[in-house]
Every structure is written in C-alpha cells, then in structure tokens.
Symmetry: C2
Subunit: 201 residues, 2 copies
C-alpha cells in the first residue's frame, strides 16, 4: 500500500468517524484534516469537494456493512427468519459497542445522512436510496425463502421487506434519541411481526 493511498484512507477514516458521531454539516474539512494529520491542500488533492468525500464515506460504510456483520447475518446457510433475528442482534451489539467506546449511540449513518441531506442534494439522496434498496432486497430474499420452505405464511414480501427496513431504521432512530442501545434489544425482535398481505386482485 503506497503512501498516497494511506493518506486518502486516513482522510476517509477521519471523515467516517466525524460524520457518524456528529453530522455532515457539523464536521468541517479543517477538523477532518487535523484528525487525519494532514494539511488542507492535501485533502483537495484527493477530493475535489466535501461532497465527494461524503460519497466516499458512504461507499466505505456500505462496504463495511455488506462485508461485515450483515453478510454474516444474511448467511444463506441460516434459516431465513433467523437471519432477520441475527441482523437485529448485530445492530444491537454494534450500537452497544459504539456506545461503550464513544459514550454515545451514533445510530445508522445512512439514516442520519438521509435525513440530513436528502432535501438538499438529490445525488446523495439517490446514493443512500440505493443502499436502502439493497438492504430491502436482503430482507425480501429472506422472506421469500421463508415462504418457500413453509415457515412463513405467504405475504407481500416486497412491501414487508420495505416495512422491516423502515422499522429497523425507526428503532435505531428512537434508540439514538434515547442514547440507549437497549431499546434495539427490546423492540428489535418485533420486526418479525410485521406483515403486509399480498394485494388481492
């Protein structure tokens, strides 16, 4: 790994921490540069604008998410409905560990950014939407397989998956506003009670 890449990744790492723990607007380039131990001019060598930085930050978080605990949670070897339990558990433990380290529950970076920027920047909004859409697909696949193997009564898997994603984001929102990851533990499992029936023609 060459030096250039290292500087760039230190910038992104600093921005990930900053944007997650506060917000996009509240963390300036200068602060990111200080955290990363570089000069501002060096930042603009790698990123044409702050917006391009947050794009990279979203990409990295999405990558962490897709290859980390979510990949484990949605392990095809697990029974489909257990994957959903597993995902809730993972969200709970993740937020809990963040709070232990950081003193705060930081919530879901995608939800945080979505509410902050989606009225102001359609391209960012679209990027976040794609991530939500991918998450929804994970839920849908699990639901479809559960229906297929008879462990779940038939339903509108597309919409139920969307509802489950909404519920997860809502639970994390509420937990963040209580600064208490235990709320995820208490409310999370109810995600499986959500059902949207197939529309009758």
């Amino acid at each position: 790994m060459n030096i250039a890449t290292d500087t760039r990744s230190r910038i992104v790492a600093a921005a990930k921490a900053g944007f997650h723990s506060r917000s996009y607007a509240n963390v300036g380039i200068q602060e990111i540069c200080e955290t990363a131990g570089i000069q501002k001019g060096s930042f603009y060598h790698f990123f044409p604008s702050k917006r391009d930085l947050v794009m990279a930050v979203i990409d990295e978080f999405a990558d962490d998410w897709a290859t980390g605990f979510v990949a484990e949670a949605f392990d095809p070897a697990l029974p489909p409905m257990e994957r959903i339990d597993y995902l809730i558990d993972a969200a709970y433990f993740w937020q809990k560990s963040i709070k232990q380290v950081h003193g705060r529950m930081l919530g879901c970076i995608f939800g945080n950014l979505a509410l902050e920027v989606s009225t102001q920047d359609d391209i960012l909004r679209a990027k976040l939407l794609a991530i939500f859409s991918a998450a929804q697909t994970r839920f849908k696949d699990a639901l479809d397989q559960a229906v297929a193997n008879g462990s779940l009564a038939p339903l509108d898997s597309e919409r139920t998956a969307e509802a489950m994603l909404a519920y997860l984001e809502g639970v994390i929102l509420l937990a963040k506003s209580q600064n208490d990851p235990e709320l995820i533990y208490r409310l999370g499992p109810a995600i499986k009670t959500l059902r949207i029936e197939t529309e009758r023609a």
Copy 2:
C-alpha cells in the same frame, strides 16, 4: 397582539420553515432574519442564542402537532384502533401536501432534529425525547383501550406503542429519502400488525 410578539413569531415561523426544509445546521441566523424581514440585533433581543430558537421551534411544532391533526386522530370518540389508522392517514396527507407546496417531502421535524442534534446536545435531545414519549403514550392509550374493549388480544402495550412510534418514524424516514409520500400510504397500515407480547414471569 403587540408588535413585539409579532416580530418574535415571524422569527419562529421563518425558523420553522427553514429548519424543517433543510436542517438546523444549514440554516443560519442571518437567513432567518432575512426571511423574517428583521435585523440580526432584533433577533438577539428575543432569543439569547440559536439554540433557544430551536427550542421555541420545537415547542411550536409540538403544539401544532398536539392541537392539530394528531388531536383529531386520537379523538377518544373513535374506536381505538381506528385512531391509529387515522394518524397514519394524517401523516400521509400532511407530507403529501408539503410536497405539493414545497416540491419536497420534508419528513418529521422531530425525527430530523433528533438524528441531527442528539449526539451533540443532551438538552435538545431530552426535549425531543419528551415529545416522542408523549406520542408513545397516545399509542399506548389507544392500545390499552382496544385491549379493554376486546378488539385486540392482550399484549405489552407500552412496548408495542414504542414499536409503533419507531415504525412511524422509520416509514417517514424512508419516505423522505425517496421523496415520496406514497410510501407512507403503502407501508403505514402495517403498523397495526406490530405486536410485542407481555413478558412471561
């Protein structure tokens, strides 16, 4: 109504629109003053700080909420579970009308602010928490009454109410990130499928 009160209320009105349509950090005092048609010094005659302004803004939104469509939705004359349907409808029509006027779905100001500020200001967080708590109580009362009149199987009404609030916030979050109030229409009714059973001793 004297002139002073009018200036103050114009400030708050400008701030409500600004904070709702963009965010707390992205709307400056100067812009609010321009919108309200006053000078900055005049602003600081009424509010010691921007934080005090957002407090007043939250109070006014909470008031609108408590005396407006939410009061109608949770009309005790309605069958309890219908109140929940009514609230979802109200949220849908409200967001839809905002989009028609403004071109954007702005979402729930309390959810927006909660995610933006709750890691940075515990007093604001507590204020928002109190609003969520009041909303939760509305749900809980409806659930308790539905259980009492036999239209709903017994459950943990406290937690189910919390889950319903989380779901509502999550649905609005997702709808905002799609800039599409129809998502509330599609997913909202599933709120009644949420159930958290009473803990067995």
